[in-house]
């Protein structure tokens, strides 16, 4: 099942990338990133079956960090929305330098 799982993982990751590139809504882009993380989790779990439980431990940590990241990221989006009244990435370009 390793090969099939890796296949699905690759597809999901690619879909996530396409989403990041294509969408302009910040939250949706964020969710695409979560999708990519999930794809990676699938990869790790598939490898854990073949190579040992360390893969699952890694998935554990990925999830934890994803949770933290989601919390902070959404807080940023909220703060951004308060100032700019929009979360369209086209309009958020104060970093221009």
């Amino acid at each position: 099942m390793l090969a099939e799982a890796l296949f699905f993982s690759a597809v999901l990751f690619a879909i996530g990338v396409v989403g990041v590139l294509t969408r302009r809504n910040a939250i949706i882009v964020f969710m695409c990133v979560e999708l990519m993380l999930n794809a990676v989790n699938l990869t790790f779990v598939a490898f854990a079956q073949a190579y040992g439980v360390a893969g699952q431990v890694f998935v554990f940590f990925v999830m934890t960090v994803a949770a933290a990241e989601a919390a902070v990221g959404l807080a940023i989006i909220i703060a951004l929305f308060r100032h700019r009244q929009t979360i369209d990435l086209e309009h958020i370009n104060i970093l221009k330098g």
């Binding site: 590139l21 910040a26 990435l89």
Partner: protein, 740 residues
């Protein structure tokens, strides 16, 4: 094999040399004494501030309130000073410098005399090998080994005697001449330094050491010509001298490179031993000799690099006497004599040397006919006489050329110092009356024999000597040169060679004719000088006349000594018909170990000139000299001469002569201005400002900013763009893994 020959020569000169253990072991002290004088005088000069002085042209612009040393004597460029004779304050250390300066030189001369005595008692002209004292290894780089060593042989001994002897006399003269100059210790410091370098030049045992002295005297010449540097013209003259010398030095360096690359040695003994390997009349040895001569043309003021010497008259007169008459300019002649074994192997180069010498002789003599500044006449006379010397050494008559060098040192120094006396008197007269007339222009002189009788007589002796009137010094040396050229035109290796299709014989005959013509002109312009300066009515002016008087004895004394030498100096190398005056061929015997072989190589078994021909040539030369004097006396009437202020411009060919054939102007247009324009337009504006400042410095700054701008354009602030770039990067990295 070369090394063996070199080592053998070196071992010979050290192991069994007759001078070993004599006073000659103090040879090193001879140059060190003037160096000590330089250090002491230099210290004295540095520890005293510089004040503008009486002879300093910049005195023109100062008002009296500024002067610390109460100097308000005006030279002829000064504007409107009153004629009160304020007391002159001499330099603080003047007395000390007066003792140190000439003192070290007197000691050096005494030492040289002692070594000479030792040399004579050890055999004199019979000592075959040179006495080489090696002090330390200077350069040891791969194949190149140059030692700091002095070589004492008959030629360098002769030169040392001339340098220290005439040098001492000139130092003593300077004590009187420069007494009021504020740069007094500096003057003696430079003068001592010059003597040190000149001694280094003649004592050096290898070409590089000679070159150190060569360059050093060039530097001192620059320093001394521009001694009163606050006048830009003097500084320019110094620069001109140095630069013209440098052009020649380039030639000298190339010759040294060629010598080293072919012979792998640069010491005189080494090159002498190995010179045969270059091949007689080969292109290589000819090239080496020609490049050496380029150096000589620069240092000894031959065509085309003579232009600095007339300008060098901007320096103090004793400097002109020492450097530009007696010693520095003779360095070229010394070099050719030193390299006699090379020159005698290259007949074509010898032709070139002779012809340039002859052309220079007549060219400069013709200019001297129409110069009004007394020092300029003597300067061109020097150039002309140097031409004679090169005719001598170029034709393989090394003894004759060196002989003329020695006699010329005597009478030319006498002429310069005598003119110094005259100028000293004129200056004194002019500043008594506050006049701004040119104290050096002959048109302002006249009839000075009544006021300066001693100088008058001595300068006539020198004039007769330089014109070649027997039994004075110049006659014997000049006659020997002309006779040698004539003899070699008939039979020698030079006569057998050919240059530009013309046989060497024809060249040498032409040189003889030019030499005779130049002798005629020499007599004419020297007599002219004497007539305008000392005879006829006095044109100086009513008020000045009463202040004209003879120089003090400290200045006239050396003149007397030189006058004596100008009389008897020629008896050093008497021809056979003059045996009643002394020993025949003394100098020839003395120099035989150094140049004898080379001389013999050139004449290669020619028959002795018949006595009839010899007498004929001698008589002809005397006739020419006397004809020149009489011509000048007949044609030139000092009574009809206007003063400088009243004199109108010359016309016709006289004008060309007075303007020195416009050579300086031609050089300026043809060489200097193009270089200046190229430097300014191309090198400065184009390369420096445009390329380096613009393209490289500002361009690199612009490039950095541009790259930064590109980088900043990437920072769009758009997260979407960042995402794209990120993914693109990931693709690339993964692609690398994939492909691998």
């Amino acid at each position: 094999m070369l090394l063996l020959a070199q080592a053998a020569a070196a071992a010979d000169s050290l192991a069994t040399h007759p001078l070993q253990g004599t006073v000659a072991r103090w040879l090193w002290a001879v140059p060190m004494l003037p160096l000590l004088g330089f250090v002491l005088n230099g210290a004295l000069s540095l520890f005293s501030a510089y004040h503008v002085g009486p002879a300093d042209p910049s005195a023109a612009g100062h008002d009296h309130a500024d002067h610390v040393a109460h100097v308000d004597h005006a030279d002829h460029a000064a504007a409107g000073h009153d004629d009160d004779h304020h007391p002159v304050v001499r330099h603080r250390f003047a007395a000390l410098s007066s003792i140190i300066g000439p003192g070290v030189l007197l000691l050096a001369f005494a030492l040289v005399a002692a070594i000479w005595a030792a040399m004579r008692s050890a055999g004199g002209g019979a000592i075959e090998a040179p006495y080489v004292q090696r002090y330390f290894s200077w350069i040891a780089a791969g194949d190149l080994h140059i030692d700091a060593a002095f070589q004492l042989d008959q030629l360098s001994m002769l030169m040392m005697l001339v340098i220290t002897g005439v040098g001492t006399l000139i130092h003593v003269f300077s004590v009187g001449y420069m007494r009021d100059d504020p740069g007094y210790p500096r003057y003696f410091a430079y003068l001592n330094l010059f003597v040190f370098f000149m001694l280094l030049l003649v004592l050096g045992a290898s070409y590089p050491l000679l070159f150190i002295g060569w360059e050093g005297v060039g530097v001192c010449s620059y320093l001394l010509i521009g001694f009163w540097f606050s006048d830009k013209a003097n500084a320019d003259a110094g620069k001109k001298a140095f630069i013209a010398n440098r052009v020649g030095d380039a030639g000298f360096l190339i010759a040294m490179f060629l010598l080293f690359s072919n012979l792998h040695t640069l010491s005189f003994t080494g090159v002498h031993a190995a010179a045969g390997g270059l091949g007689f009349d080969s292109a290589l040895v000819t090239t080496i000799c020609l490049f050496l001569f380029v150096g000589c043309a620069g240092k000894s003021a031959q065509i085309p690099l003579y232009v600095w010497l007339p300008d060098a008259m901007a320096g103090p007169t004793p400097v002109s006497a020492l450097i530009h008459a007696a010693t520095m300019v003779t360095a070229g002649v010394y070099l050719v004599a030193r390299s006699s074994f090379l020159f005698s192997m290259a007949p074509v180069a010898q032709i070139v040397v002779v012809m340039i010498g002859a052309l220079t002789a007549i060219f400069a003599a013709s200019i001297g006919l129409k110069q009004w500044d007394i020092k300029k006449v003597l300067a061109y006379s020097t150039i002309s006489q140097l031409g004679y010397m090169f005719v001598g050494v170029g034709s393989g008559a090394y003894v004759a050329g060196v002989f003329h060098l020695v006699t010329h040192a005597f009478f030319k120094a006498l002429l310069f110092l005598g003119s110094g006396s005259v100028i000293f008197a004129m200056h004194a007269a002019y500043h008594h009356t506050g006049s701004h007339e040119d104290a050096q222009d002959m048109r302002n002189m006249g009839g000075l024999r009544r006021m300066l009788p001693v100088t008058w007589i001595l300068m006539w002796i020198a004039t007769l000597a330089i014109s070649g009137v027997p039994p004075f010094a110049g006659f014997f040396s000049k006659d020997e040169i002309l006779g040698s050229v004539f003899a070699r035109a008939q039979h020698s290796t030079i006569a057998d060679a050919s240059l530009l299709g013309i046989s060497g014989s024809a060249w040498l005959y032409a040189a003889y004719v030019l030499g005779v013509a130049a002798a005629f002109m020499t007599a004419v312009y020297m007599t002219r000088l004497m007539l305008y300066t000392f005879h006829g009515p006095n044109r100086t002016g009513e008020r000045e006349r009463e202040h004209l008087h003879e120089a003090p004895w400290i200045m006239t004394g050396p003149l007397v000594v030189l006058g004596l030498l100008s009389v008897v100096g020629g008896w050093l190398n008497l021809p056979s018909f003059a045996s009643m005056l002394g020993s025949v061929g003394g100098l020839e015997r003395w120099l035989d170990p150094v140049v004898g072989a080379a001389t013999a190589q050139t004449v290669a078994g020619a028959a002795e000139t018949s006595p009839g021909l010899e007498y004929g040539l001698v008589g002809f030369a005397v006739l020419i000299a006397l004809a020149g004097i009489l011509f000048a006396v007949a044609r030139l009437k000092p009574e009809r001469l206007p003063t400088k202020a009243q004199a109108g411009p010359e016309r016709g060919f006289a004008r060309v002569l007075e303007h020195k054939y416009y050579v300086d102007e031609i050089y300026d247009d043809a060489v200097v201005q193009p270089i200046v324009k190229t430097s300014r337009g191309l090198l400065w504006r184009g390369v420096d400002v445009g390329l380096i400042d613009g393209a490289m410095v500002r361009g690199s700054a612009w490039l950095t900013r541009f790259v930064g701008w590109i980088g900043s354009e990437f920072q769009s602030g758009q997260l979407g763009t960042y995402a794209w770039v990120l993914v693109a990067g990931v693709l690339v990295v993964l692609g690398a893994f994939t492909i691998r």
